[in-house]
Amino acid sequence: MNRAGKWLRRALVAGLGALVVAVGLLVWFGAWHYPAIGLAGIPKEGYRQAMDIAVRGMTRSDGLTFEDWDFMKFRQVERGGEAYAWGAARCRAADGATAFYWVYLEWSKKRGQWLRNYSLELAAPDDEIYFTRTFPGQFARARLALGKILGQLASHIREARAFAANPSGLQTPGL
């Protein structure tokens, strides 16, 4: 093999390695690290505290101010160890408009702690609920969906960074 071919192969291997590491980091962050931030050590019955920590971090990183819970629910099974907590929070946007935020936590039997699950701002401006069959078009739809996914990732990273900088700052005093 000549020199150019050898370098090309090395670059290819390095590129593939970087890609694998990037995907691994993404999976680690999204599936292992982010859902658990700040929730370790809270028992199943302490779901109010877990929901409080979760909602403050999520709404702050999305530029919203948490005001109060609209409702909150805790459900657990009688057979088996699954438990769930969910609720909607009333928040204030920077421009003064009202926003509702959906928070959903699941108890992890494997890790013995609460984990963040699918949570988002309800009826956000990029929500699919405003779409019709023909509007927006395919490309605009794809752009909005991609923007939503990347926006959520960026917001999760902001939340993780804020928590790393100030681990106790997300909790309501006295709770």
Binding site: D70, F71, K73, R75, V77, E78, R79, G80, E82, Y84, W86, A88, D95, G96, A97, T98, A99, F100, W102, Y104, L122, A123, P125, D126, D127, I129, Y130, F131, T132, F135, P136, L144
Partner: protein, 146 residues
């Protein structure tokens, strides 16, 4: 004369044991085997599944009700001028009105799903209370009733 305890015969015997174990495991996966041999774990699984499904369906209805509220509040604030969509946004009075109707249509289905999930859970509990076992023979046509 061949020896009975040869290497090949040991392997054959181990293979037969493994095959028997596989068959037994498979039998335990069938409702017949599970209700006959391990009824308690069978019913624990059935009730646990029913409970988790019922909770999930309740949550799905809740998220749609919360969305309905969020859309209605947004519509009110848009009409009052407290909420102004960004230029080029898909949010408008029209799309918000449509979203209310869309959410209602999805919710009607979610309410049905929730009712069905609780019926399924109650059915699992009824079967357990009646000590129902799936027999090995052929049941008469129709659903088995406790």
């Amino acid at each position: 004369m061949k020896r009975l305890l040869s290497r090949e015969n040991v392997v054959r015997a181990l293979l037969l044991v493994a095959l028997g174990g596989t068959l037994w495991k498979g039998f335990l996966k069938t409702p017949e085997g599970a209700t006959l041999v391990r009824p308690q774990s069978f019913y624990n699984g059935l009730v646990n599944d029913g409970e988790n499904t019922a909770i999930m369906k309740e949550r799905h209805r809740d998220v749609l009700e919360a969305t309905d509220k969020a859309v209605r509040v947004r519509l009110e604030e848009l009409r009052a001028g407290a909420y102004k969509p960004a230029p080029g946004s898909v949010v408008s009075e029209q799309s918000l009105t449509r979203a209310v109707r869309k959410d209602q249509a999805t919710r009607e289905r979610a309410v049905d799903d929730e009712v069905r999930a609780f019926e399924k859970l109650e059915r699992a509990r009824r079967l357990e209370a009646a000590g129902w076992r799936m027999g090995l023979g052929c049941a008469p046509a129709g659903e088995a009733k406790p």
